[in-house]
Amino acid sequence: MDIQHIRELFPILNQEINGEPLIYFDNAATSQTPISVVDAMVAYYQTDNANIHRGVHALAERATQAYEGTRQKVAQWLNAQHTEEIIFNRGTTEGLNFLAQGLVEPQLNEGDLILTTKLEHHSNLVPWQEVCQRTGASLEFLPLSADWTVDLPSLDKYDDSSIKALVIHHVSNVLGVEQSLQALSNWAHERGALLIVDGAQAVPHLPVDVQQLGVDAYCFSGHKMYGPTGIGAVYLKASHHETTQPVQFGGEMIHYVGDLASDYKQAPWKFEAGTMPISQVVGLGAAIDFIADIGYATIGDHESKLVAKLCQGLDHLDGVTRLNQNVQAPHGLVSFNIDGVHPHDAATAYDLEGIAVRAGHHCAQPLMRVLDTPATLRASVGMYNTLEEVERFIEVTEKVRDFFKYGLESTR
């Protein structure tokens, strides 16, 4: 993997922040976008831009081809059985809200159960809290093993008949742990429950095969996988298309509109009301091509070296506590704290050194309570980060620790 060549494809990386070379370690929040993705969106606007599905003219036809062509591309990339199983949306949050309200809520009765974990991003927790409050169903948290994966053997304490859905992350945005979706899907399906997955942190790092994993629905966002913001998709298994209700109504999702009632198109179009973000869909397609060109094996191999070095470096520092020590081979990130230093104070110091890290609760407040910390620092890598950057990051971490411990003199 020619890392220098890859870095040249991301012009944003080539800049100084506060007089220091930028080290972008906030990829789990948003990854950077390569030239090819930007170019694809520019080309769309400069040659093909029109509204899709409605026009009878040439541009409308080209735009529709570009849009529907990307749907096909996403379907192949996730190994969906049918292209129609891919529904475009604004991203993971919108996808999970859609599944909560359109797929699960209509099936929920008082006393039913939705199972989840304390590791979820708020986007995979709050929508379920909301539907439970509306229907009288309850949310229960699955037991976890020491390595933060779901503890399957102790899953038998639930009344099977009341479990309607198991909603879970594929890869955690705080600990980097990967859940065994195949085992969870077998377990859920034996009990007639759905398996719904938040894949936002998985797709940048590892290949996903929805048929092999056996998921009922899988959500992801473009902006965490080198694509544009404002676009994502849901894979929704065809067998759920009839039972799932649209949650947005209006133009383009309708079949026939009467004065007082209407009927709707087939899926996926019945779930895509209004004018969709067409240029972002084109950008998403370019991001998938970009990842495919380099290959998940190459990306995963490089990133695991970076993360291993990050873990090793942080573990060697006194006064630094890494929070994902029990995680086997975390994907793409480390969460840690500098003892006695609030993450916000540390993040300001990192920023002065040109290093972008995330500090906060990472939209995972229930997990912060489990970890017994209000917030953490998180360094998350992408394919363009280097071992040299990791080295510098560890050096700076030491300086930041010393500044807050001993004051300015220590850093001279």
Partner: protein, 165 residues
Amino acid sequence: MALNQLGNLYQAVVMDHSRQPRNRKVLTDATHHMELLNPTCGDAIQVTMQVEDGIIQDIGFNGSGCAISIASASMMTEVMKGQPVDTAIDLSHAFNQLVGGVNEDTIQLETAEVEKLLKDANFLDGVKKFPARYKCAVLAWRALEIGLNEEVNDLEDGLTTQADA
């Protein structure tokens, strides 16, 4: 060395307040209170006050946070103790401007008077250069301003919490 600039934000006075906060307490006889959250990190600062005859007779803060939010809360209590409510609100607006907030409030006090009354809080002027930390600095001051309109009705009254938008 980029870290040198940290000294502009984390001055000795600021570090002193964050390590040994003044008035870190919950008033049991509070007449007014407010707890605010900093939504970016989940930190919460709670302010309790005893207001009599239009004067803040006593004030305390409690909660967890970064060095900036704790130091700022500690400084705020020292500034506010003994001030009439009108002056307190004025000073809160003045502090907001000091740390880079949008100036939408007319301040009645003279500039020299403001500087004198803001005491140690003047040392947080470095926040102006760190806009990402503005919310940390104003959290306790916002809690005071909102709290002055939140009377404690009775001892059973749970603490009002609202996210800082």
